[in-house]
Symmetry: C2
Subunit: 238 residues, 2 copies
DNA sequence: TCATTTAACTTGTATTTACAAGTAAAAATA
DNA sequence: TATTTTTACTTGTAAATACAAGTTAAATGA
């Protein structure tokens, strides 16, 4: 369905090393092979290897020390959602179950939308969906997503149960997340939110409003995420 | 007092362009000069220019588009604190006033500290301070900082009123922040917090726990930040 | 006029080369 | 033995070069 479109070499090495770190081949505190060794091992030159390593460092997988080498950073145990950088997913290998609360439907944008919209977006209307995400069978995220209805044929009829929205967008529409803005607030749980997240009314809830940029310059994903942080914190690196 | 230690060229260009963007020389949506033009303008080669631009992009100041150029991203109007990347300060040019609540004192680490500590850190004790930060005369942040007492002579007697802690550490001790971990929660305001932040008891407050890494591999800064997000949101980019 | 092709830009990827600077362990020296 | 120096690593910075690939506007053609 989709031409594989070979990844650049630095990206391939990035994926290999990232997988090795996630799989425990390289453990926390371990020294990665030196840049010159990686050059030999994977048949590329140092600038290319360095590009992989600096991306890994930017994503928090390793820390680089001049004169010493690249050291594997500890993997977060908490829920990482603050940075969507590249291929990193919100929760590592954790058992995160997702249920669809409101199936994707085409509708008008809310009148007081959280981010300003372009004319093109307003005209196109939006695809709306609601999901609830469970960690260890406890509802943690109540997730409202909006996508402008621009060149996304048949999206409302797709199965979202077990695959992430990002994955479907990547696999079927070549859409990649490139970056984004987000706002964070602490708010009291409304009746609806407290019901979905099994909380008492007015208990503090984390509210994230995000605008995600894609490889299509006029296509953005918006989401409003309510998060129960009683048991789990949101984790981030920088 | 401190040798200037010339910045690398890519870093200098980064600072120049960042200042131009902050000052409005390049406005939101503007196209920066092309990489080749920057090479000529500043007398460096493309790899060096590209290093500056990719750092700027990583910090959210610009977005790069293949075939088009580097476009100035909008500057956040809200409070940006989620990423401390490099030289970016929490609040751009805003009038943020800081008052010292508890002057720096040397003390033992709390017994149930929020992050695990090394033996060296435990032995050294910590420098503790509390600050409250006001935006437009409204208290927004209640900020508790901990630093291990490792090679920081006379720090408890320094003036912290108008300069940031980071600035003092950089100017007097050559300490630079390289990255860090953070956890975010929404919690109800305790009596103390509600008093400092002018909130009602149990109102939702954002709680950040951060561990900041420095250029000295065994020196970390810790902070516990309580934030009133009623009026302002916390802003982040990725 | 309108559609297509071409050309001239832009950034992206990759190699090669060189030296600077930080680290750590081996070697030399007191 | 204990200290200092040297050496051999490591990553950091920087240049010069080449081609790929995406974008845009001008030139060309029907």
């Amino acid at each position: 369905m989709v031409e594989p479109k070979t990844l650049p070499r630095y990206r391939r090495l990035y994926e290999i090393l990232r997988k090795h770190i996630s799989d425990g081949v390289y453990k926390e505190g371990d020294l990665l092979p030196s840049e010159n060794e990686l050059c030999q091992l994977y048949g590329m030159t140092r600038p290319t290897v360095r590009q992989s390593l600096s991306t890994l460092a930017g994503d928090g997988y390793i820390r680089k020390h001049q004169g010493k080498g690249s050291i594997v950073h500890h993997l977060p145990r908490e829920i990482g959602i603050l940075s969507v950088s590249g291929t990193t997913s919100a929760v590592g290998d954790r058992k995160l179950k997702t249920t669809i609360n409101v199936k994707p439907v085409l509708m008008q944008w809310p009148s007081d939308f959280m981010f300003p919209l372009t004319e093109l977006e307003k005209e196109s209307g939006c695809i709306y969906m609601e999901r609830i995400r469970f960690l260890d069978d406890v509802p943690i995220f109540y997730d409202i997503s909006y996508i402008a209805n621009i060149n996304l044929p048949r999206i409302t009829s797709r199965q979202f149960e077990n695959r992430s929205l990002f994955q479907i967008l990547r696999d079927h529409y070549h859409i990649e997340i490139k970056g984004g803005d987000q706002r964070i607030k602490a708010i009291p749980a409304s009746a609806k939110i407290s019901r979905f997240l099994h909380l008492k009314r007015d208990q503090p809830v984390l509210h994230l409003e995000r605008k995600l940029e894609t490889n299509y310059h006029d296509l953005f994903l918006y989401s409003s995420i309510f998060c129960n942080t009683e048991k789990y914190s949101i984790f981030g690196r920088f």
